[in-house]
Symmetry: D3
Subunit: 177 residues, 6 copies
């Protein structure tokens, strides 16, 4: 693995305690992994507008709708940690359309789900509903871009039958962690 | 609650340490709860033919396909305990169509999924595949009947927005439990 | 067949003039047949709230949506008799979404169809529409529970390729019967 | 109504004993009705290759798949008469995919259903299966053309909320008629 | 080919400069081709109510939704010529649900799409929306009948793997033609 | 726009004669545009294994299945140029499932379509078929990764109602260009 990627993955591994399998799966294609990481960080490592927890909520909801085991389990763990809620990931991943959420979260998830599963029907109605719920155009872009990025990630995981690291299954499930 | 139901629920509560919410939800209709319990026990409390773990596998797979949060979380817990596998429930519930399973388990789940989601197309092809995988006609009936029973249970949970007890989320997730 | 079941089926046979095939299909599993009958009677043999005709309307509409030949033909016959309407069953079974009905009947059928075919999307919108049409919470439960029970029954019929008794096809079709 | 149409409908009315509602619905557009009748007769009034009963079987199967009440009820009646079978129409209309049929009939219906409901996927596989079942290219054209014609007819009926004449519901249901 | 058809096709060939392949495909069944032409002309060669351009818009939108290559390419060419718009056909065929159109055109296309792809759900809601957009009942009939006719045409093209004439691909794409 | 992006877009503009609208749409988010370009180039600017024409074929097929107007029109133009075929883009975009292709191209497109539209069902069967058609594991990865990348791109275009530049509609349509 090229030095720059080794370093970046090293930082993640240190923070998490392990190397998430998605990086191993992409590592044989360094240019793709580098672009993947850059895109991911541009969308997920911001906290103005959408909170980091809300960003993970989009990932778990759309990955649930796409039946993506890796992303549901791995990002479900991050969502639990970010929301400090041991139940949210299972509820959102299993039924993203009707999981009980705050009105703002519901508007975020509803917008994301249309784009994830019915992109041909995405249009002004969806944007109007999102704005009526108080979402700014900057936030709407982030919701759409995160949904689009994980439409890609989910398919990368499906095509490589990517398995979640064992650590992810339990992370964030114990009351204090 | 009539005495007989109080007793039955009491036994379950003692074994689990809590009263699963499905019983609270159905309790105001004692005749329905009684029939529900009888039918459930007739299908789930047997262990000839399909093992009890295999029966729970059907429940988790079809409830995942039906996006039923209560059944995925509650029966996911039981599946973890019965299979002594901390990952199986999340993998099967998220993508029942492609979760890695033994050939016998895959045949069981494939048969169940067609009946759960495309009942109009269920026919001789499905039965032939199941028999080719070594399933007996008695086992096939059980797979179909459990799938049918949870087609009902899932919809009872959806119609009452049934929430899983907090205990279910963690049950069976710790290596030794 | 155990004595209690023999008696119950005998009563039905006497009333109908024949033994509906569903009972023959389930008879080799007495505990399942007993629970099936108990559940069925708890939901279908009441007449407070929903009328018996309305209960059959739910069965025919959702069985039509599920392409279940046994239930469409058998319960279509009962619906014709209960509604004293020779056309209603064919119209509702063929296109449950747009068959012409009274506003109350349409509200009942619309609620049932969402739960039957799109359970993951069933939520407050459906409940609000049902209440706006004047349905009580007790009636809504019955609509949901009947829909759920026949989601099971339809699948039992599909898995066993259950054929309707010849008698059902004509029953209730002649103006005076 | 122009004289030529009046005469044609008159012949039909005399044969049936009533004027099927589809002709009333189209009568205000004589050029369309004339073309409709010409096309219909070119496809349905032949008996070389497919029998007339087999032609009606295609109509009932695809109209069932399209949930078209008028065509299911009206052509269901004709199918019962042509097949001298009081049950066939209800069985095929309710579940065209799995109704029990002879191998030749099943091949006819399977070909028709793909074209009716998934035209974008219709291709060489479907043609190969039809030929393997002994269908000639002339018969395959008829199956496809009848399916296509009723894809139109079904939609004309849906758009005009066309109701079947009361006579159709009972026609062909009594053992000797 | 019978004389009358030879003459009609000759007129079309003279106007277009070539014989559209659909006529070659249907020519071996003269009665069907004659009815096809009659029906087509009755619906497409009128200009009261819907304009001829609007009629082609319906064809391209519904043929796009049905993934029909022949009709998209051939009628796309005509639509470009009639609308004097080099982009409209590609935009409408690729995403008929969200292509930017005038409110009247959008109402026309929305009505057509429901009937084309979800005929069982076509009902009063669709008619009310169309009327609210200013469409007359005569225009609504035309929209529905054209949609229905091309539900047939699309399937005739699918079943015969009909290829568009090379001329159609470029027609109407150059600014002045 | 940061200098590096200005330079990269400049090179593209010089080669094409215009700035493709996708770059304008993403330009206000430089980090996202940079990662988008990097990822795109890593997948599309290679020619070992899959040819560049085959890479565009995947884009047009999956963008057609996703009803993405921008990608169909823009990449359709590139596909025409790369394949020196004025018809291929319209045929593949309109019906990617059945457009006539060489066996190798059909295998490429079939693999891509499952991942694009049914990712949950992507599994060993798809991989086996691709390998049986002679595709290497390196090529399969590229097919999957390009499909995944355009699952993202399509959704970015849908969410921003991205319009194709007028130039794309005609590019590659004239016999010699």
């Amino acid at each position: 693995m090229p030095e720059d990627l080794r370093t970046r993955i090293g930082v993640i591994a240190e923070k998490s305690g392990f190397v998430p399998n998605v990086f191993r799966a992409l590592a044989w294609r360094p240019a793709e992994l580098r672009a993947f990481l850059d895109y991911h960080d541009a969308l997920m490592e911001k906290s103005d507008g959408l909170s980091k927890a809300e960003r993970e909520l989009i990932v778990v909801a759309t990955s649930g709708a796409n039946n993506c085991t890796y992303c549901v389990v791995a990002h479900g763990a991050i969502l639990r940690l970010r929301m400090k809620d041991t139940e949210i990931a299972d509820r959102v991943a299993t039924n993203p359309w009707r999981a009980e959420l705050s009105p703002r979260e519901r508007a975020i998830v509803d917008l994301a789900l249309v784009l994830a599963t019915d992109p041909a029907y995405f249009g002004d109605d969806e944007l109007d509903k999102a704005r009526a719920a108080g979402l700014t155009d900057d936030e709407i872009w982030d919701i759409g871009a995160i949904t689009a990025f994980f439409a890609m990630s989910n398919r990368l995981a499906h095509m490589s039958a990517l398995q979640p690291n064992p650590e992810f299954f339990l992370l964030g499930r114990l009351p204090r962690q």
